[in-house]
Amino acid sequence: MTQLPLDDLTAAVARIRGLLLTEEKVDRAVALLAQAIKESLPGSPGAGVSLMDAAGKRTSSAATDSLVEKLDAAQYELGEGPCLTAWATGTVVIIEDLQTDTRWPRWQSAVASLPVRSVVSAPLVVGKEALGAFKIYSALPGQYDESTGRALSLFAETAATLLAHIQGTEAPLRMAESLKASLASRDTVNRACGMLMERQGISHERALQQLIQNARVSGATLVEVSEQLATRVPPAGS
C-alpha cells in the first residue's frame, strides 16, 4: 500500500522551517549591510538601511547608531525625507547641507536639533522593483557630491540583488499557503478514493485510476473531480 514516505514529510517540514527563518534572515542581512556601508566609507559615517513594501511602509530596517534611527523614524513618521524620495524616484538623493535644503520642510524641522548636515540616500532597486533605500549621514556639511552618489548607486545595485534573494516578507506567506493548500487537496483526493473504494468495492489504486480517468475525460483537475464526487449524493442503484 502506498504510504507517505518519510522524505516527503521531511521535505515539507524543511520548507516550512525555511520559511519561518526567512524574516530573521532579512533583518540580519539588512543589519550586516548597514554595518558594511559604515565601515567601507571614509570617516565611518552613520548608515541605515530600510526595506519597504509596495505601499512605502517599512518592513525591516537597521541602523549603525541611534542617531540614524532617530533620523529614519522621523522620515517614516512624517512620510517624507530623502530615503522615501530615493525609493519613490529610483534615483540617488544628495543633501549638501540639511540646514539650507528645503525639499522636506517637515522632516527638516523635525531633525534640526540633531548633529547632521550631509546626507546621501540611494535606492535599492532590482529589475523594476524598488525594495527600499539606504543612506549615510555626516555631521559636516558638503561631504557628499555626485561622485559619492555614483559610487553608492553601484554598491546599491549589488546589495539590492543580494537582498532580493533573501527577502521574503511575502514569499513565505505564499509558500505556506501553497503547502496548506496541497495538504488539503491531498485530503480531498484521498477522501474521494475512499468513497469510490467503499461504493464499488475496489482497491485504492483502482479508485485513483478512475479519478484520473474522470479528470482526463472532463478536463477538470483531479481535485475538482474529487470534490464533485465527495459532495455528490451516491445514486441508489449502481
Binding site: L4, A11, A55, G56, A88, G90, K128, S182, A215, L222
Partner: protein
C-alpha cells in the same frame, strides 16, 4: 514491477513538456504531492533522469500534475502597441 516498454517514452515526453513550459521539478512535485502522489521529490527527479522506474499510476499522476500546471499558466501573448498603455512607470501609487 519491471520496466514497462512505454515508460521511457512517457518519461521523455513529460520531460519535454516540463522544459517547454519552464516547470521546475519542485513545482511539479508539489502539485503531484497534492494529488496524493507518493514518490518523494528526490525520486521524481531520479525518475525524470531515467534512473528509477515508477509504477504506472505514479507516472500518470505526474503527467496529470504537469498538464494541470500548464493549463494554469497564462498563454504566451505578444502585445500590439495599443495594448501597452496599461504598463505604467514604477514607484508608489
Amino acid at each position: 514491477m519491471g520496466f514497462d516498454p512505454h515508460e521511457p517514452e512517457q518519461r521523455g515526453q513529460l520531460r519535454d513538456a516540463l522544459t517547454a513550459a519552464d516547470i521546475t521539478v519542485g513545482e511539479l512535485w508539489l502539485r503531484y504531492f497534492s494529488m496524493t502522489g507518493s514518490a518523494g521529490e528526490y525520486e521524481v527527479q531520479a525518475y525524470l533522469q531515467g534512473l528509477i522506474s515508477l509504477p504506472v499510476i505514479q507516472r500518470d499522476l505526474l503527467a496529470l500534475a504537469c498538464n494541470e500546471i500548464i493549463a494554469e499558466k497564462p498563454p504566451l501573448h505578444a502585445p500590439c502597441a495599443d495594448q501597452m498603455k496599461g504598463m505604467g512607470p514604477i514607484g508608489p501609487s
